[in-house]
């Protein structure tokens, strides 16, 4: 009897749950919110953003609640997985909307959209902290924040993402870069970056990154650079190891940083050699030309300096973003595009 009663109750529960699931599924598919998400997942990003922009906040909130409820479904694994996929799409949709809003200086929208993405990510992280999507999304947001020089946010965001049981080398790189950028802005640009900017912390993060991933050349270049900024002789040794086997942008940066050290120490001939080597490696990049022109101007070679300026500033059809220094100064921003592509692949239906 008890068994039959239990079965009956169980059957009722199953029916109720099924009914709810069946009712919930068409709701998710039919709402404008999920339509926007689906469009984004299919690569129709502009349409998706336009559709999202047309939704009221209460419509978004209802859609989010429905997705989270579906994700929590323990009995319907398929539904839960569908919800998780939709949530990943929603995260990317809100992230795109958030940073588009920041570019337009629409602060309220930026805050609202990123908070939505963050609430979803926290939910996914509570299920699997090391999920590739969660990890990559955090790296993407850090890259974008570093590109916009929003270091205070980047710093706190990175702390939130930090895992005491061990971080990925990419996150360690981002953590170190935030400190390094903060130091540079505070010490060389006489401005308040909103973070401490501790080169010792940066060093710790870069060294940890290299322990986990010894072939991560970017961490090696950054470690060399910050050690030279601290006037630690090991810095030049590390930069000197960035040779022909490294990609050209890393070689360029290493020569540029070496030149900077030589110049500081008054070794003008070596500085000129290093800057010239950088110019030869990537003639379209501007920073080494500027360094070389400044060095020559300071030693009285005005015509040469003017010629350097004419060469670099007068060059036609050079893309704006061809200088590794521009990207270096923005931490991990240059990795943002790669992270974005990975995430977009992960959300494809």
């Amino acid at each position: 009897m008890r068994t039959s009663a239990r079965s009956a109750v169980g059957a009722v529960v199953i029916v109720v749950v099924l009914c709810r699931a069946l009712a919930a599924a068409p709701q998710l598919a039919a709402s404008s919110y999920t339509e926007a998400i689906d469009l984004y997942r299919q690569g129709e990003e502009e349409l998706a953003l336009k559709k999202l922009a047309g939704l009221r906040s209460d419509e978004i909130a209802r859609g989010r609640d429905a997705l989270l409820a579906a994700l929590a479904s323990k009995r319907q694994e398929a539904e839960s997985e569908r919800a998780a996929a939709a949530i990943r799409g929603a995260i990317m949709l809100h992230t795109a909307q958030s940073f588009a809003a920041l570019e337009r200086n629409n602060n309220g929208e930026f805050r609202f959209q990123l908070a939505l993405a963050q609430s979803y990510i926290d939910k996914l992280a509570s299920l699997d902290r090391h999920a590739p999507f969660v990890r990559t999304w955090r790296l993407l947001v850090l890259a974008i924040l570093q590109e916009g020089m929003s270091l205070a946010v980047a710093d706190q965001f990175a702390r939130h993402a930090h895992d005491s049981r061990g971080d990925s080398p990419e996150l360690l790189l981002a953590l170190g870069a935030t400190e390094e950028m903060g130091w540079w802005i505070r010490h060389e640009e006489d401005a308040d970056p909103g973070v401490k900017g501790d080169l010792r912390d940066a060093e710790r993060h870069y060294r940890q990154a290299l322990i986990v991933a010894p072939t991560l050349t970017e961490a090696r270049v950054r470690l060399g650079r910050i050690l030279t900024l601290r006037e630690d002789a090991e810095g030049m040794k590390i930069l000197g190891q960035i040779g022909e086997s490294a990609e050209a942008p890393f070689q360029y940066l290493a020569r540029l940083f070496e030149g900077d050290v030589y110049e500081k120490h008054g070794d003008i001939a070596e500085a000129e050699r290093s800057y010239t080597a950088a110019v030869t490696l990537l003639p379209a990049a501007q920073s080494a030309y500027m360094a070389l022109a400044h060095l020559r101007h300071a030693r009285g070679a005005r015509s040469e300096a003017a010629q350097d300026i004419r060469s670099t500033a007068g060059a036609r059809d050079v893309p704006d973003l061809s200088d590794p220094w521009f990207w270096y100064a923005r931490g991990t921003a240059w990795r943002g595009r790669g992270y974005n592509e990975q995430l977009r692949l992960m959300i494809r239906p």
């Binding site: 200086n105 930026f110 805050r111 006489d190 500027m290 500033a313 704006d320």
Partner: protein, 306 residues
């Protein structure tokens, strides 16, 4: 003295056959001297009609025998460096182009202009040229996007000035802080000390959000005016060369600020002297005062003799 003559910095300008006869007469004939651009103002008004004898100039504390060169006799090199970063797009760019074109109307025969733009890169759109048409054409092609390499552009403008008898006015327009330069502020200030260019700047306020995280939530705390940070560098740079920063409150003010800069530059006095009783090398601190007349004197803080 010969060593000084042979190896002086750009602040010490060769003034010989290239100068018009009137100016040469005011110099000791065929000599090399230091030239100092001086502005005198009383309150908001410029003080005009002064003679070399009204000034007291000390080089490293040593009183010098100064002459005055008539400004009208010296051709002008105007090196314009304009910010074309993303924040300048739209109405601001239109105002900037109009201001630039209006500035060209104020130039005289013999004057030369160069146009540099700066955003993520510094671009030389036109080298020093007497052709207004060339500069006008370059202005119409300006587009705004990208970051702000203000310090690199300021240095490029200073470095483009080569040894010629003209007076060089570097005019920098910017609406934000530097976000892309390789050179540090100190590098550019150092370069400014090694030239005789006078740097003026027109800075326009730009408001940006200050974002932060509180309780795990991203919040926008308030707006902050970034021009103050850019202003620090520009004020230092202009003061070092005897120029100044004009702060524009709106796009409409850019044109007036440009025009005022050129008019003010033309009202400056150019003093010259052959250094006496001072070291032939190194940094020379300059002090320029009025002997009797009241007024605020603005001049470069010194020069390098190398």
């Amino acid at each position: 003295m010969t060593r000084l003559h042979q190896a002086c910095a750009a602040a010490i300008v060769v003034v010989g056959a290239a100068l018009p006869p009137t100016a040469q007469q005011r110099f000791r004939s065929g000599t090399v001297g230091v030239r100092v651009d001086v502005l005198v103002a009383r309150g908001q008004e410029l003080v005009r009609g002064l003679k070399a004898t009204d000034f007291e100039l000390r080089d490293e504390g040593v009183l010098q025998n100064v002459s005055e060169i008539e400004v009208e006799q010296i051709p002008l090199n105007l090196i314009l460096a304009v910010d074309t970063s993303g924040s300048v797009a739209g109405e601001r760019m239109r105002s900037l182009v109009q201001a630039g074109q209006s500035l060209l109307n104020g130039l005289r025969a013999g004057d030369r202009v160069a146009l540099l733009s700066f955003s993520t890169r510094v671009r030389l759109l036109a080298p020093l040229t007497p052709s207004r048409q060339q500069i006008d054409g370059a202005f119409t092609k300006l587009t705004a996007q990208g970051a702000t390499s203000l310090r690199d552009a300021a240095f490029a403008a200073l470095a483009l000035r080569e040894t010629d008898p003209g007076r060089t006015l570097v005019l920098i327009f910017s609406d934000g802080t530097d976000t892309a330069s390789w050179l540090r502020a100190a590098d550019v200030i150092d370069a400014a000390k090694r030239t005789d260019s006078v740097v003026y700047a027109v800075a326009l306020a730009e408001r940006r959000p200050l974002v932060n995280i509180s309780g795990g939530r991203i919040i926008v705390q308030r707006d902050t005016t970034t021009v103050q940070e850019a202003g620090k560098f520009l004020e230092h740079l202009t003061a070092e060369t005897g120029g100044r920063v004009l702060f524009a409150n709106s796009n409409r003010d850019i044109r007036a600020a440009f025009t005022e800069t050129l008019a003010e530059f033309r009202e400056r006095y150019v003093l010259s002297y052959t250094p006496a009783g001072v070291s032939p090398t190194g940094w020379h601190r300059l002090d320029v005062k009025l002997k009797v007349t009241s007024g605020k004197v603005t001049a470069r803080r010194g020069y390098f003799a190398e």
